[in-house]
Amino acid sequence: MPVNLDTYLGVHAAALKVRSQRTEVLAANLANADTPNYRARDIDFKSALAAASGDKAGGVHLATTSAGHIGAANVNGTSAPELKYRVPLAPSLDGNTVDTQLEQAAFAENSVRYQATLTFLNAKFRGLLTAITGQ
C-alpha cells in the first residue's frame, strides 16, 4: 500500500502553515503597537485552514453554472489567507487599534497551538519511521 505523505499528514501540514502565517501577522501587530493609524489585523484560523486544505466551503470560489465552466479553486489565486481587521475595544486617539495585551495573549496562544501541531506531526513521522524500520 503506497503511502501518500500529504494525506498521511492530514490537516496538520496545512495547519502548521496557517499558524506560521498568523504568527507573522501578530508579530506585525505587536511591532506596530505605537504606529499612528495602524489597524491591527488577524487571520480567521477556521476559514484560512479550510482554504489551505482545499475545502470548498471556505474561501471565495467562482460559481460554475454550466458543465463547460472551469471553476477556479480560489479567486484570490494565492495561498495567502484573508486578513481581517480587529474591532478595537478602546481605540486610541492616534487611530491605532493595537491592544498589546490582547495581541500578546493571541501570540502566546498561537505559539502553543503551533507547538501542538508540531507534536502531532512528530508523532506521525515517528509512526512512519517505526513502520519503515520495523523495530
Partner: protein, 137 residues
Amino acid sequence: MSSFKIFEVAGSGMSAQSVRLNTTASNLANADSVSGDPNQVYKARHPLFEAVRAGLGANAATSGVSVKGIVENQAAPAARYEPGNPLADANGYVYAPNVNTVEEMVDMISASRSYQNNVEVMNTAKEMMLATLRLGQ
C-alpha cells in the same frame, strides 16, 4: 520561508523603539540646557512612526515599522528670569527647553516595554522555527 519575515518585522519594531529611546535620552539630557536666545534653545524631539509593508508580492500582508522622521516640539520655551546667569539676554532672561520630563519618563517606559515585546516575539518565533527544524527527530 515566510517565518523569516517575523524577524524582519520584529527587528524593525526594535529599531524604531530604540530611536524613540534615543530621542527620550536626548530630551532628558538636555532638559536643563538653557539658552539666551529663544530661537536657539533645545526643542524636545519625537520620532514619527509609520507602518511599511514587509516584503513584496501577494504575501505582503505584514507591516514593519519605519521611523518617518524626527519632529521638534514647536511649543514656546519657558522664559526664566536669571540675571546672574552668564547666558542671560539683555533683559536678564534665559530660555529653558520645552522638555516635559514627566512625559519623557512615561515615553521611556512605553518604549522599553514595546522593545521587550518585540524581543519576546523574536524569541518565540526563533523557538518555533527551531522546533520545526527538529521535526521527525
